[in-house]
């Protein structure tokens, strides 16, 4: 067995998990909203891209570019008309409402597209690979990782170098005071969720092109995304990438030892990280 190869594949897989998690990390960091429907929204976006590719014959990347504003709108609407009503000191309403949304999305997709598994066709990219020294690395995993890096760099610039980002951070620190300064927290939240959903469209492209998907796989993606966010530490996007990489490497090493241990190894890594560092690897915000 080639351990270097296994670890490298794990790191690249971590890029995919970081993409799943980036939107979640952003929303959680800004408004402490735990969106249990996040995984199902990724699957929804994957179906959206799948339909765009299938009916219009678009290139998957063009389809993703079309899906991004649509997902932004969905996120904005969800936050404005549903999630904003649930935010408050009690954590139960947002948890239960997003949990309900998760069940609705899963069964809606099941109704519309049946339980058949699908895949977004991506032509020669499906099998293309490049040589790195003695290793062969898939182009798709590399693109995924590069996209994760790009998303995190852009989101960080947005957060720390723009007026909108200042509004995000101010609302995150103290929504009431931010409101006194002329920021409308509810509108800020809606934009944040919209951006998170645009990132979800990117994640969905890689989810759908790299492996099969069906309406029921959302919850497992949600768990991976959450594990990445929590392991990385609240409010740090680079931490989320680190969390995703820990999860990805643990899974590929576990899977290399015994294929049945792949998922289990990821969960155990999560438990171990939290036992030793309850606030994650790189915590920034205080909750």
């Amino acid at each position: 067995m080639n351990w270097v190869d296994t670890v490298l594949q794990g790191i690249l897989l971590g890029g995919l998990y970081a993409l799943f998690a980036a939107g979640l990390s952003l929303v959680f960091g800004i408004m402490r909203l735990v969106n249990l429907a996040h995984g199902d929204l990724i699957v929804l976006a994957a179906y959206l891209i799948f339909v765009l590719v299938g009916t219009l014959g678009l290139n998957p990347f063009v389809a993703m570019a079309i899906a991004m504003p649509i997902m932004f709108a969905i996120g904005w609407l969800l936050q404005t008309y549903v999630f904003n009503r649930t935010l408050g000191p009690d954590i139960l309403p947002p948890l239960l409402v997003t949990f309900g949304l998760s069940v609705v999305l899963q069964n809606g997709l099941l109704q519309a597209y049946s339980a058949d598994s699908r895949r977004i066709p991506s032509g020669y990219l499906e099998t293309a690979s490049v040589r790195l020294g003695s290793l062969h690395v898939g182009v798709m995993p590399l693109l995924t990782f590069a996209s994760a890096l790009a998303v995190i760099v852009i989101l960080n610039r947005l957060l720390y170098a723009t007026e909108l980002g200042r509004a995000f951070r101010a609302t995150s620190d103290d929504a009431v005071t931010a409101g006194l300064m002329g920021i409308r927290p509810q509108r800020t939240f809606a934009i944040a969720t919209g951006i998170a959903m645009a990132v979800v469209a990117i994640a969905a492209l890689y989810l759908g092109t790299r492996s099969n998907f069906d309406p029921t796989i959302g919850p497992a993606r949600l768990i991976y995304a959450f594990e990445s966010v929590i392991m990385g530490g609240l409010g740090s996007l680079w931490g989320t990438l680190a969390g995703g990489i820990v999860l990805g490497v643990a899974q590929t090493i576990g899977g290399a030892v015994n294929p049945e241990w792949q998922i289990l190894a990821g969960h155990i890594a999560f438990v171990l990280v939290l036992l030793f560092r309850p606030r994650g690897l790189f915590p920034r915000a205080v909750d």
Binding site: V34, P93, L95, V97, N107, L110, I230, L264, L274
Partner: protein
């Protein structure tokens, strides 16, 4: 001069609740005798309702009273069921004894699971319990003697020679398969009544008051010396025990187990959450109302497959957005009726109430 000494009493009982208690006792007796006048299919429906009620009451105790929103109750259902199977298949135990074993195993799992999950706050706790359930499912799927990932069945003779079967057969003249259903039903009824009484007693006790104070104001409760952590840990383990026992019982009746079914998030946690939320979280009556609505919806929409869950999810969202106290809560706040009151009322003296 003082007037006649005013005597103050703290009461939790109301007139309606006393009437309801009498009515409830009658209902339990009618329920005990149900196998005599109810067809077998209806008995299985009642079994389903009662077991879901126990699951709902124990989740409600966690989320509604202790503020612990667990999305991982399927860990305890599945482990309880699997340990019961192990007891029957590997150690040749009587299924009813193995059910108890399942409950204890679930309570035992709750200790390390709790140590891990209690380090996580609020929403993190929910995810943590879910991950624990996934870990237990994946580990149990490695248990080759119990069928690994594909699962296994309970041999017919094992359940047909269960404790009490002879009694049911001789007393009422049931056939063996029917007698198994009857025994399972009686145990479910017993569990449902025991759970409701246990939760009711707990909430009326000192510990119950402490629990409510922690839920309503964590800091204030700590300031007057309530040990929130200890209380929550006790509730978490107790709820795991109840969930494990009922999980094991469900699988005595099903007689067929697989990791995906026994650790199903939808069946053992999502349904339960909707039952409690729709009925009314944080009340004992809520889950009772919720389970009846849930069952009615299921019968009504049985032919529509996934539409059923879709509707259930939408109702859950609407209730959470517009009527957070649930249907029972709406009813109780309009009418002031409480069937199982846990609120303390000050009476006597010059207060006219």
């Amino acid at each position: 001069m003082h007037g006649p000494a005013t005597t103050w009493r703290v009461e939790t009982r109301t007139k309606t609740s006393t009437i309801f208690m009498a009515f409830g006792a009658l209902a339990v007796i009618a329920g005990l005798l149900a196998p005599l006048y109810v067809p077998r299919a209806a008995l299985q429906d009642l079994f389903f309702i009662l077991t879901m009620l126990v699951l709902a009451q124990s989740w409600n105790l966690l989320a509604g009273y202790a503020g612990l929103v667990s999305v991982g109750q399927q860990a305890f259902v599945g482990l309880g069921a699997y340990v019961m199977f192990a007891g029957v298949l590997l150690f040749k135990l009587d299924p009813l004894v193995a059910i108890l074993l399942g409950g204890f195993a679930a309570a035992l799992l709750a200790i390390p699971a709790g140590i891990f999950a209690f380090r996580l706050q609020g929403a993190y706790f929910a995810i943590g319990t879910w991950v624990v359930a996934e870990i237990v499912r994946l580990v149990v799927a490695q248990w080759k003697t119990l069928g690994g990932g594909t699962g296994t069945s309970l041999p017919g003779p094992a359940t047909r020679s269960m404790l009490g079967i002879d009694l049911a057969k001789n007393l009422f003249g049931f056939r063996p398969a029917q007698a198994v259903d009857v025994i399972c039903y009686w145990v479910a009824l017993l569990l449902a009544v025991a759970t409701i009484l246990l939760v009711y007693r707990l909430l009326r006790s000192r510990q119950g008051l402490a629990l409510a104070s922690v839920r309503d104001n964590h800091e204030a409760a700590r300031a007057i010396g309530v040990d929130a952590r200890r209380l929550r840990a006790i509730v978490y383990v107790a709820s795991a025990f109840m969930t494990g026992i009922v999980g094991a019982l469900i699988y005595v009746q099903k007689a067929r187990i697989s990791p995906d079914a026994a650790f199903s998030l939808t069946d053992w946690t999502a349904y339960v959450i909707f039952i409690v939320v729709i009925g009314g979280i944080g009340t004992i009556e809520g889950p009772i109302v919720g389970v009846l609505i849930f069952f009615g919806l299921q019968k009504l929409l049985a032919d529509f497959g996934s539409i059923y869950l879709l509707v259930l999810g939408l109702i859950g969202i609407v209730v959470m957005l517009f009527a957070q106290e649930g249907l029972w809560g709406l009813f109780a706040s309009r009418t002031g009726i409480q069937l199982l009151p846990v609120r303390r009322l000050l009476r006597g003296g010059s207060l006219k109430n």
